[in-house]
């Protein structure tokens, strides 16, 4: 319990530090949302100043930070100038969509990469291993944007998948099963794209960790005792290889938000990606801050989850604690 409590406190401290640092950096950035209004001759400088006052931008730095933190604690996460509404409600609906896409693609990537990496490690040096190594290297070399555009082209040319969005126009009229199917059809292409981007790295790491585990002397010793191959693989090699893989799993959770940004823009997925692009361009500072904080929450949660999984799976860590 002490280990978990320590990790949670550590995570909260990181989030506070990130919030302060990102708030500071964004306040230092030249200009703000209202500079665009000053260019408009029909809006008087007094009106602009009034708006700045209304949103508290005339207040000292620490007061603004304190207000923003109160707003974060209340779940509002600040106020969007562009949408004229609190950031929280804007964020949560889109965050759910991004989480759905990121979760599905992460699970798909691991579901495919884990058996493939293990299979390649067991067949190290044989033609199967070499063939899939070439396939993974090729996939790794393709830029993400190009891959997503190719998927979009595939959807447009074949009509097998919807070319964008999260649901069809008549979604509300569908029954539950129809809604699920429609969602799955829309989810398929962006999930596949994201999984294809993540897979080469996962496969390489899984293969390397398994090769190292399979060649470790304790596995040879176990083989000498007549332990069958399957048991060696699942009870010895996989647990031995699991520590770096669990850390990698934590990182893939952590990177879910940033990884899905491009595919959401290209394939019009109504997640946080398009909102991020719009708010950065509009200098809608509290939306940007909320996205940074959310991204940090993903990062910290991913690492926390990895730490907890490591704690649960590795008796050495439990003893050391």
């Amino acid at each position: 319990m002490r280990f978990i409590a320590r990790r949670v406190v550590h995570s909260i401290l990181i989030l506070i530090a990130v919030s302060f640092l990102s708030f500071t950096l964004l306040q230092w950035a030249p200009g703000d949302y209202f500079d665009g209004l000053r260019m408009n001759p029909r809006i008087s400088p007094e009106t602009v100043n009034g708006l700045r006052e209304k949103f508290g931008l005339d207040q000292p730095f620490l007061v603004r930070y304190e207000r923003w933190m109160r707003s974060v604690a209340a779940g509002e996460m600040g106020f969007s100038f562009a949408y004229d509404s609190p950031v929280g409600p804007l964020l949560w609906a889109r965050a759910g969509n991004t989480f759905l896409l990121g979760g599905c693609s992460t699970l798909l990537a691991w579901f495919l990469a884990l058996p493939l990496g293990i299979w390649m490690a067991v067949r190290k040096g044989r033609w199967h291993d070499r063939l899939f190594s070439v396939v993974m290297s090729t996939l790794l070399a393709i830029p993400d944007l190009l891959l997503f555009l190719l998927l979009l082209l595939l959807a447009l040319r074949t009509g097998w998948f919807p070319a964008g969005g999260m649901t069809s126009s008549g979604f509300d009229e569908l029954n539950l099963w129809g809604k699920v199917l429609d969602l799955v059809r829309h989810l398929a292409l962006p999930s596949l794209g994201l999984a294809a981007v993540a897979m080469p790295i996962l496969v390489r790491h899984i293969r390397a960790a398994m090769v190292q585990a399979l060649e470790s002397p304790f596995l040879l010793a176990a083989r000498g005792h007549g332990i069958p191959h399957q048991r060696l693989l699942w009870r010895y090699a996989l647990p031995a290889a699991s520590n770096p893989l669990i850390s990698l799993f934590g990182l893939s959770i952590a990177g879910m938000l940033s990884a899905s940004a491009i595919v959401e823009v290209v394939l019009s997925w109504p997640g946080l990606g398009p909102l991020m692009v719009q708010s950065v361009l509009a200098r809608d500072v509290y939306v940007v801050l909320a996205l940074i904080l959310l991204s940090s929450i993903f990062l910290v949660s991913g690492n926390l989850l990895a730490d907890l999984l490591l704690y649960a799976s590795d008796p050495r860590i439990r003893v050391e604690q």
Binding site: A221, G224, A240, P315
Partner: protein
């Protein structure tokens, strides 16, 4: 070394092991011959040392004997059965008779298992007894190798190097093997730990009628433990003789060079040592 009336536990005939390799730049295939027709007889109850320089093929030979590698040609006759022609079921049973203790106890023990689990694992694999009897056997074995039974729940990293090697020996003894192969098992240990483990092996040999093969390039260790020595060079046994004879009247030029390299001459072998070796 061989006489018709001797009872051999293990007889190796014409054992060859080749590894296929590929050149880095040209990609051309070639073969490396690690063992070149090894012939070796190990008498029952003997403590044999297998010596030679690095790359001589000692570890390959013992890995073949422990059935961790499949030889390219040859026969491994163990108690009248050629291990290389046994069915997989019989081979599974035969594995229990030959056990190997590795050089590095740290890496040869599963880091996630407790000492008790490590020692009981071979029993579980060979489906010996119930969970309770296996646990009792493991506790007894830890006791035999001089580890307190309270340490059974500890993980390998909580033990010293010498204690880990004791766990490895206990694990090797779990299936009551007839042949115990120690592949440079003492090379990473300090002298005091080495001596206490050697004493333990002498006791275990007396108690369980074990036959040992010690792989080493430490000739001083050989004089302490082995009743006979086989010298390996470039994948062959070049000389096999009783320890005292080998150290005093080596026939092979390579053996003499090896002895010189280790700065050991016949003076090291005093009457007491020869007596102990007998």
């Amino acid at each position: 070394m061989n006489s018709p009336e001797m009872d051999f536990l293990l007889s190796v005939r014409g054992l060859t092991k080749q590894y296929a390799q590929k050149r880095l730049i040209s990609g051309a295939h070639f073969t490396v011959e690690a063992l070149r027709g090894v012939n070796l007889n190990v008498p029952r109850g003997a403590a044999m040392a297998l010596v030679g320089e690095s790359g001589a093929g000692k570890s390959t030979l013992v890995r073949c004997l422990a059935l961790l590698e499949k030889p390219t040609h040859g026969e491994i006759d163990f108690e009248g059965h050629d291990l290389l022609t046994l069915s997989s079921k019989k081979l599974f049973r035969a594995r229990r008779e030959i056990q190997l203790v590795f050089q590095d106890p740290t890496s040869s023990l599963n880091p996630r298992m407790t000492a008790l689990e490590i020692v009981a694992e071979p029993l579980e694999v060979q489906r010996e007894g119930t969970k309770d009897t296996r646990r009792r056997s493991a506790i007894e074995l830890l006791d035999q190798v001089g580890l307190p039974t309270s340490s059974g729940q500890k993980l390998p990293f909580e033990f010293s190097g010498g204690q880990r090697q004791r766990i490895a020996i206990a694990r090797a003894l779990a299936l009551r093997p007839k042949l115990l192969i120690l592949d440079e098992a003492f090379s990473n240990l300090d002298l005091a730990t080495r001596d206490s483990l050697l004493q333990l092996l002498f006791e275990l040999q007396a108690r369980h009628s074990l036959t040992y093969i010690h792989v080493s390039h430490d000739l001083r260790l050989v004089t302490d433990v082995a009743s006979e020595v086989a010298v390996m060079y470039e994948g062959r046994i070049v000389e096999h003789a009783p320890t005292a004879e080998l150290f005093t009247r080596a026939k092979s030029e390579y053996t003499r060079l090896l002895l010189e390299a280790m700065e050991i001459d016949s003076a090291v072998i005093d009457d007491h040592t020869v007596e102990v070796m007998r």
